[in-house]
Symmetry: C3
Subunit: 447 residues, 3 copies
């Protein structure tokens, strides 16, 4: 009986930990909603809010019926799972896995709403969100996180002996969301008036810096659930029976914090040097850049490694955001620079900065670690293969998807709707019916 | 010593789980505040915010001194508890029960502030909130959740052999709040200008769709604490010593998610079919409708059952909201359709869709389950008796309470105050002193 | 093996509890950001938001490199720690201590941004925040919370036999932040136009009461993590192996709740009596006053003691806020009255109201308790010495710091910048580019 209680309790700790972490990850949906609402103009506020609400809702159903089966169902092969549809025959004592996995799928999906904001049709967005949460994302999650996945580090015979190490999803969640968004931003095209004939950029500031900041804090908060909860357990035991499991989540919390801060400060400084002002919105994006960058390696790097990862992540964000403008790609939220570019960097950084001690502690494997600690190129090689494969998959399948929608004339709203705003035309009225809004002052700047 | 540590730890897991769940439920107060603030006009924003702040505060003191004793105190009889006033002699190692129960009482109370918003006097509202949290709600909680309560499923000799099964409070919290609010909305009467002589409805949109959305996400987030925390423990043991307790909370998390999503999507579709637009606010109410509907049965239905419950809950919300307009009852937040109607539905749904396996796992009883699974009418009968009894209690006592306030001329603010707004007259100025607000465009629509 | 699992699990419960509590404390950064943004005028919104974002970020790096070593590093002496810089050689299985401690340091730092809002230079604020999180706060944390600290109740030979009892930081966090802010408010001087020649006060209401309310709820929510998490563990064992550790956190949750409510109601009533209106903002400050006041004693007083502490805390807040105006000190957020004055009161209240039973349960000491329970003056004496010492330290070092910045002409922005607002001049544009803002109506009132 004592033994039973011990096992029951150990299990309960893990269940409680994963569920509560999942609740925090869920709140990131609210964070994204605030971030995106604040970043668009008032005329499209209800539109982007409803997209965020609906990708959470549609994501549940799509992931419940199909997505979870494709990512984690049994039986499965190296490419995909094909059982446990609609949770059929899935053991109730593991439902936390479904819940936690859903919050990740919803995160991957919602990233795109930022990239394509203010000019994409509502129905096209809903079709996209169902497609991503039911199929595109789950396949990637299966590749990397299912023991049978062909890229998995937990595979019995992992690719080039290591597979891909992606602790909480720099690639699985953020590269998927970021590159899907990039495809969307390119194919749907820039907002009317965003670039003039000479390629100069018209600033289109969002309507509320406060909402963006609120969203940023909610995301940082939720990210603690995202990264620590990815440990999956707080008590699992490997070598040292006393502390390993719970040590991992402590390392994750510390590294997540350090990288977020390093990203935020780096962008503040870089933008100050470039533009001569202390910029709030880009600093918040710098924090998110740091968070995305540390997501893959949060359990396996030292805090000073996390600092370096966040610092470089912030720099990559600034460069990547600037590149998009040069290429005349309009990403109103800078969601691709944050999630796509930094997702790639975070995945590769594992190959550079993972320590032997921490790689062993996470139970994945004991014999490969980061290049900078003398671990050679093998781990880095696995990371490169993983991220390239996932980008290829996302670009191919989501690119095709958006191109088909474009051909069917379903992707973009009419210029009239874009000028007047989605809220008036499609959503029954403006978000702030009592607020007098003025014309935004236009400045034209060089990218 | 090892045995001691095992018991200590098992207990600690439960304590931590219940406290953290309670913290999430508390945050629903903030969610309601944002939801309600966004749903009223700027001239009453501070008024509704202060009502939300104060029902939390007054709710603490009222529930601490009286409410907890009436709901959970000992000694007690079938109707009410009458000991442990002000936590006297209540064991400190169970204070979590007080804390968690308070967050529920505060939720029941705050629902009403939506129904009667924009025209109810501040003092009347404070008196109401003290009355509900100190007496009306605790009595119902005692009936259904105390082992000595006459409707309790845990009663040694439960009513018609089953009592009422209400896992997290579709009836105890939401029917109480919803029907109290309905009484208030009827007795205080509609806002000036809400209905014209021909019964047509003048839309009075709230001032910020963004705040409503933020509130919706905070409520969904808090609801995870509300429903899972109602398990009361993460490690309790019945048949299978290893997994039962922690399994319940996993089932709850999954079902809560699926029902919320089903409710949101259903309302989006129904309103699109009826009005031809994708409506944000009603979709958010659809999510809440799904959440209220699943609250009673979240631990005892299959996920596809949760889907059905959310789908029907969303439909009931739409019908119920439309009915209120037909009846010229002005509920600015649609709080009755969400909490009252769906609370009834959620309670009855247990009698239809509870499975034998899950009813056994929750430890309530082993020999009654849902009609649709061949469990017969007994469980459903208990649910009907329970919900009818609670409605009768609330309508009688809260109806009398509001009628007395009305007779004493304490219930409604003056027409002048209503036109100018509460904030200017009672609260020292407007919520947004720098914002230029315009006259809302009026449309007149058929209900 | 069973024994190993038992220890692992007990440890995991504590780790999960402390980490999740720390996540909630982190969210207080978002709460402060919303509270402060809503309390300033639109022209300085982005400025105060960025200060909040940056004190979190800079606080991480400063505390990671220096602060944690000074507060908790080993080796150490009675004044300061001087090892484990940048977490060097600090055991990874205790990283939660760094994480949790950082969230507290960031809280202490961010309080000041309220006191000096709308007229302090951005660089001066960043320098301040790094100074506080790297040195000023950590030294105080070391004095009181490190077993080697000269004021610590856990010192082997504590000062006057008791040391200072500050469970969650009324002194360590709030007195430090509050008095640092007071120094700032005095030295930087009032906002232009805040006081006229006759000492009359021009109200400068913040631009959004909704944001202030949201901030208040987020802070109350986060405070549950702040106070319960300060137990450091949920399962530790003293006399009674079964319940002590988990009992402490339950007492804390209940007391925190009761004191918050008492503070809010008290201020509502007092301001109603004085000004004849139900005031939202000061009621929210009353809640915060209750929370600050209970922070030191939340684990060692009875709930009715918490009620008294909150009630007196609310009264002290009102008096203190009124005194500042009389003294022509401009604290736009009333952050000193909330954190400074109530922090002092909360610390002293322990010496009056701590019970013998609960003092024993917290493991600090068994033989001193509150004056009102016959414990004599010893505990109260320790509290007085502690709070006086900390105030002396903060006033001396932070006063000098701000005076030096002032001499170097780095502290205050130019009158032109203050009139036009920081956002236009330093941060690239206003927070709400589409909102038409009007001139605030001026009233002149007697203090």
């Amino acid at each position: 009986a004592l033994e039973d209680l011990t096992f029951t309790t150990a299990n309960a700790v893990n269940v409680v930990f994963v569920l509560l972490s999942g609740f925090l990850v869920f709140l990131m949906q609210g964070g994204f909603a605030m971030l995106e609402a604040g970043s668009v103009r008032t005329k499209n506020t209800k539109n982007v809010l409803l997209k965020n609400v609906l990708d959470a809702c549609c994501g549940v159903i799509a992931f419940y019926v199909f997505g979870f089966a494709f990512s984690s169902g049994e039986p499965s092969n190296a490419f995909i799972g094909y059982g446990n549809f609609a949770l059929a025959d899935f053991p109730k004592e593991q439902y936390r896995e479904f819940f936690f996995a859903w919050t990740f799928a919803a995160t991957a999906a919602t990233i795109v709403s930022g990239c394509v904001a203010e000019r994409t049709s509502f129905l096209a967005y809903l079709m996209y969100t169902v497609f991503v949460t039911s199929f595109v994302y789950p396949v990637v999650a299966h590749w990397i996180w299912s023991p049978s996945g062909w890229l998995s580090a937990e595979n019995e015979d992992p690719l080039i002996g290591v597979g891909v190490f992606d602790f909480a999803g720099s690639t699985v969640v953020h590269v998927v969301g970021g590159f899907a968004g990039l495809m969307g931003a390119i194919i749907v095209g820039p907002r009317l008036g965003r670039f003039d004939e000479d390629g100069r950029v018209t600033p289109m500031p969002g309507h509320s810096a406060t909402l963006v900041t609120l969203g940023g804090f909610l995301l940082w908060f939720g990210w603690y659930g995202f990264n620590t909860g990815s440990a999956g357990a707080a008590t699992f035991v490997i070598d040292d029976p006393e502390l390993i499991g719970s040590t991992v989540i402590q390392v994750v919390a510390a590294n997540t914090t350090v990288a977020a801060a390093a990203g935020g400060i780096t962008v503040l400084v870089l933008v100050r040097l470039r533009d001569g002002l202390f910029d709030l919105i880009s600093s918040l994006n710098g924090i998110l850049a740091g968070l995305v960058s540390i997501t893959a390696g949060c359990a396996v790097v030292e805090p000073y490694g996390a600092f370096a990862i966040g610092l470089i992540g912030g720099s990559i964000y600034v460069l990547s955001s600037w590149s998009l403008l040069l290429l005349r790609i309009d990403d109103p939220l800078d969601a691709y620079p944050v999630h796509g570019s930094c997702g790639v960097w975070g995945t590769l950084a594992v190959g550079l900065l993972a320590t032997k001690e921490l790689m062993a502690m996470t139970s994945y494997n004991n014999d490969s670690w980061g290049l900078f600690y003398g671990g050679g190129f093998r781990l880095l090689g696995g990371q490169v293969i993983g991220v390239v494969s996932v980008i290829a998959w996302v670009v191919a399948i989501i690119g095709s998807f958006f191109l088909i929608l474009q051909r069917l004339n379903l992707l973009r709203i009419s210029p009239e709707q874009e000028m007047r705003g989605n809220d008036q035309i499609k959503h029954g009225g403006v978000a702030y019916p009592e607020m007098k809004t003025g014309t935004r002052t236009r400045r034209v700047v060089e990218p």
